[in-house]
């Protein structure tokens, strides 16, 4: 153990001296990695923004970061959405200082349950079901998972069932609103995209 660390330190010094370290691990980030990181940063910004909004009941939050997740799901697929969502949870908890606190596990559970719901609901026929359906299902899965964790781990009392209608209504409202925002945003960007494309075509 000590031998290897001294060796590493020695290696580092040598590397510094020569300006090149052959034993260093280089993490090469692909363009996709950068893209996911950028999207996760947007989600993170919304998380921080949302933390400033007062909430009448712990657990009732708009979940604005999920707008980003919904757009990523529609544009780049489930894998990218899962990356953005989970990166947001981990980095968000580091920013808020709640990493590995109960709140972190609650938001992690919510994110994982939402992603499962999204993975299932994204296969619904596109003709009839859009981002609003995805968003509402994800919101319900989010709160259901969290309530289960709260019941099994934090408050093992059936009394919390009295809060279910409140959480259910909040999930429905915020899920719908987030879905509509995501939908409108996607429409606008596609229109914008189309416009720039037609402009480019007109020029050439």
């Amino acid at each position: 153990m000590t031998a290897s660390t001294t060796e590493k330190i020695g290696g580092g010094k040598r590397g510094k001296g020569k300006g090149e370290n052959p034993s260093s691990i280089l993490l090469s980030a692909t363009a996709e990695d950068h893209h996911i990181a950028r999207l996760a940063a947007v989600a993170l910004g919304l998380t921080v923004l949302e933390a400033a909004i007062p909430s009448p009941l712990p657990g009732v939050k708009p979940g604005l970061a999920n707008i980003v997740v919904l757009i990523v799901l529609a544009r780049y697929g489930w894998r990218a959405a899962a990356w953005v969502s989970l990166l947001r949870v981990v980095a968000g908890s580091l920013l808020m200082g709640s990493f590995l606190a109960p709140g972190f596990f609650l938001s992690l559970t919510g994110a994982v349950c939402s992603l499962v719901a999204l993975a299932l609901s994204m296969h619904l026929p596109r003709r009839w079901f859009g981002a609003i359906t995805h968003s509402v299902f994800a919101a319900y899965a989010h709160i259901a998972g969290q309530m289960l964790i709260v019941y099994l781990w934090l408050i093992p009392h059936t009394g919390i069932a009295y809060l279910l209608p409140v959480f259910g209504a909040a999930a429905l409202v915020f899920g719908t609103v987030n879905g509509i925002i995501a939908m409108r945003f996607m429409d606008e960007t596609t229109i914008h995209h189309r416009d720039t494309e037609t402009q480019r075509n007109a020029k050439t």
Partner: protein
Amino acid sequence: MHLPAHIKLGDSLVLLSGCLCTVWLAALLWQGGAADKAVIRSGGKVFRELPLNHDTEISVPGPLGTSIIAIRNRQARIISDPSPRQYCVRQGWLKNAGEVAICLPNEISVELTGGEKKYDSLNY
């Protein structure tokens, strides 16, 4: 603002069922048969009122002897009673508001109250 164009048929069905689900949950959990108190009577007078959220056992004296009443998991029952036919003991757990177990020979009864009573035919 062309909002309706965004909401597809399936979306509106999901929203509608979400609304119904929420209303159903509220009706089930807020008003329905959930009881919150057990009223124990002995000889026609209220012997004690116990909240259902604390698990307890209580002995109630009557003319024939003592009856033992238990509260567990928001339910109440008579565990033992000196009455000859044991009707009230065999009635088992009481869950909903309005349910009553009466041990007539020992003049003891347990009634769950709170919320809405499912039936009110057991008046005397």
